[in-house]
């Protein structure tokens, strides 16, 4: 088990290195990296600031050395200042993380609470109305564009019916404000959970040991929850990394639609303002989170299912 964990961690470190190399070479590919800090038309950077930036980025040294300096700063949490308000990137990201985590939590709750039960129901009552409903929810979740779901939600439930607020996170917590953003964010993942749970349940329900349990007269509820469900749940568990991948894209879009003050909206404004340092910070942060979640999923999976460990 420990060998397995070490292998996964070293893989994670390599990937993180590749990500930093990628970002760094992107910043140097245009020639002088300071050009990225200059706004269109040449304003935004005084000659003194230009020189200061040159010293800070160690532009007099070879590129490999520049990378090491940059990496050292990045590891210490210094990713430079944002171009718009000259605040440290890390600080800006820190301020926005809370909103995103809250939204992601509710989105994930929605995805799990809708996807897994509906998947089980869909498999158990195969061919029934429930099955068609479940498959419909899954199909729509995977094919409707996330931003459009959010906007149509606003149109129907805010503009026309007036049931829910148009968007943005309130200062004080209110569940009403979370309903639409969480559904918008979570639907895609709910669809994934649903499909996986459904096919895993169908597989397990068809297996010999479930048939045996039935044959020897175990009652239906016990068969379903103790024998079938406990084995079927492993598949959706491994899906968590894909959920997170969906959440990263989803968060950018959802937060843009609902003007949610989180990391995703930060990415949107960074693109809008050509704010390179902020975007780099976001990319590294999201990659890191993605890798960490992947690592934990892998370990959890290996713990639950020994075949993975020795495979």
């Amino acid at each position: 088990m420990s060998r397995f964990i070490i292998r996964r961690i070293s893989y994670m470190l390599v990937t993180m290195m590749v990500a930093t190399l990628l970002v760094f070479s992107l910043s140097r590919i245009v020639g002088d990296p300071r050009l990225l800090y200059v706004q269109e038309g040449g304003y935004g950077l005084s000659p003194e600031a230009w020189d200061a930036l040159g010293i800070k980025l160690h532009l007099d040294k070879p590129v490999a050395v520049q990378y090491l300096y940059w990496l050292k700063d990045a590891v210490r949490g210094d990713l430079g200042d944002s171009m718009l308000d000259r605040k440290p990137v890390v600080e800006i990201m820190y301020d926005a993380t809370g909103a995103t985590l809250q939204l992601a939590f509710f989105g994930w709750m929605f995805a799990t609470l809708v996807g897994i039960p509906l998947g089980v129901l869909s498999a158990v009552k195969r061919g029934s109305v429930w099955d068609y409903m479940g498959r419909g929810v899954a199909l729509l979740g995977q094919t409707l564009p996330v931003f459009w779901v959010g906007i149509m939600g606003i149109l129907v439930f805010s503009v026309q019916l007036g049931w829910l607020p148009v968007g943005t996170r309130p200062e004080e917590f209110s569940l009403k404000h979370y309903i639409m953003p969480a559904i918008t964010l979570g639907w895609f993942s709910a669809a994934g959970y649903l499909r996986l749970t459904r096919s895993a349940m169908l597989d397990v329900m068809d297996s010999e040991y479930v048939k045996l349990a039935r044959a020897k007269g175990v009652n239906a509820t016990m068969v379903l929850w103790k024998h079938a469900f406990r084995n079927a749940i492993i598949a959706p568990l491994t899906f968590s990394s894909l959920v997170l991948a969906g959440f990263i894209t989803g968060a950018i879009v959802t937060e843009t639609v609902f003007s949610w003050p989180g990391l995703g909206r930060l990415a949107f404004t960074a693109v809008d303002d050509n704010d390179f340092p902020v975007m780099v910070g976001l990319m590294l942060l999201f990659t890191f989170m993605f890798l960490i979640v992947n690592l934990f999923t892998d370990i959890l999976y290996a713990y639950v299912d020994p075949r993975i460990r020795y495979g």
């Binding site: 390599v14 990937t15 590749v18 990500a19 990628l22 970002v23 992107l26 910043s27 590919i29 245009v30 990225l36 199909l139 995977q142 094919t143 409707l144 564009p145 996330v146 931003f147 459009w148 906007i151 149509m152 606003i154 149109l155 503009v159 499909r195 991948a245 990263i248 894209t249 950018i252 879009v253 843009t256 639609v257 990415a267 949107f268 960074a270 693109v271 809008d272 050509n274 704010d275 390179f276 975007m279 780099v280 976001l282 990319m283 999201f286 990659t287 993605f290 890798l291 992947n294």
Partner: protein, 354 residues
């Protein structure tokens, strides 16, 4: 006698029964194919089908609803302060009514004009947007842009990805010395690209190189390529142990000839299935990038960007955001059905993909 009846039956079969039609509908993805063919034809010949120039601004006709929308029975308030109207103007309302209707800052002397939203007409089937551009024409040209972007990026991604898969799978034959390492390297790179969130890399690249059409194509090709190598490689690994490859080798064919003439045709099924399943994702990512303002640049019409436009005018003109979103949905759903069908038919082993 028996022969005669069977002949009769056979001749009657020429007219398909409902059961047969149902059978064809169930067996073949007719709906998705029809939708996709219509969209491809309309998109490819967009200038022929679009009733207006998609960039033509017509301010007096702005925010015209789609054709089926009828006149509203109750007038709505659209402007807050307008110059005084004559006293016999029918639309004048009392101060109290104005305040009740939401104009809390209205004062004595202000005139509030009530207008009725324009009625939909057949001259603009999908209505017009905030500057009076015809939504249907923009929708059709948006389909064209989406098709073109996806076709170009998918093709380039496919060529790169398949080449990588072929090389990785056959590397030990081409380069006996370091082939194993080359294979390992390619597969590691593929693995790593899966672990880095694509959309964020795309956004960083957009900031570095600017927002241009060419960059968008390159980005989407980058998104597309990594779907192919793993499965193509696996396919090559089984094919290269087959007898006909051994025979080709004995008769003196070069490694490249074996790879491209003998092995490649065996991979095509897999590639087609993966490509179809990938197109939908590419269209979604293109739409997301355009929605975020990092993809197709205005005034060029793209579905994602049109939804972003329409978002600002939801209260007045829901149709601006509605139709392009439905377009994306239709295409992606059709591609999903088509892809699933192709997978089941041509390469059922790929089921594990989802």
């Amino acid at each position: 006698m028996a022969e005669v009846t069977s002949n009769l039956r056979r001749s009657r079969l020429v007219v398909p029964s409902w059961g047969q039609i149902g059978y064809v509908l169930r067996r073949w993805p007719v709906g998705p194919i029809v939708i996709l063919v219509i969209l491809i034809v309309v998109g490819a010949f967009a200038p022929l089908f679009a009733p207006y120039d998609p960039l033509l601004i017509d301010l007096p006709a702005r925010n015209t609803p789609p054709f089926w929308v009828e006149a509203e029975t109750e007038p709505r308030l659209v402007a807050q302060r307008v110059d005084k109207l004559s006293s016999e103007d029918r639309d004048k309302i009392s101060l109290r009514d104005a305040r009740k209707k939401g104009f809390t800052e209205a004062e004595v002397g202000d005139t509030i004009v009530l207008t009725v939203r324009p009625v939909g007409s057949f001259s603009h089937l999908f209505g017009t947007d905030q500057t009076g551009r015809d939504v249907l024409s923009r929708w059709i040209f948006g389909a064209r842009v989406s098709l073109m972007v996806t076709a170009v990026s998918l093709t380039s991604g496919l060529v790169i990805g398949v080449a990588m898969g072929l090389i990785a799978g056959y590397a030990d034959q081409i380069f006996p010395k370091y082939g194993k390492h080359l294979d390992e390297l390619i597969m590691r790179i593929v693995e790593i690209t899966f672990a880095i969130p694509t959309i964020l890399v795309a956004l960083v690249i957009v900031i570095v190189f600017g927002k241009s059409f060419f960059i968008l194509l390159a980005l989407l090709a980058f998104v597309a390529w990594n779907a192919f190598p793993r499965n193509v490689r696996a396919e090559v690994l089984t094919l290269k142990t087959s007898d006909y490859v051994a025979l080709a080798k004995i008769s003196g064919a070069s490694s490249f000839r074996i790879l491209f003439v003998h092995i490649f045709p065996g991979v095509i099924n897999t590639v087609l299935v993966i490509a179809t399943l990938r197109v939908g994702q590419l269209i979604l990512i293109e739409a997301i990038l355009s929605f975020l303002g990092a993809g197709v640049q205005p005034p060029k019409p793209a579905w994602g960007a049109m939804v972003a436009d329409g978002r600002e005018y939801l209260g007045d003109a829901w149709w601006i955001a509605m139709f392009p979103g439905m377009g994306i949905f239709l295409v992606v759903v059709s591609l999903n059905f088509l892809g699933d069908w192709m997978r089941d038919r041509f390469d059922p082993r790929l089921r594990q993909l989802d």
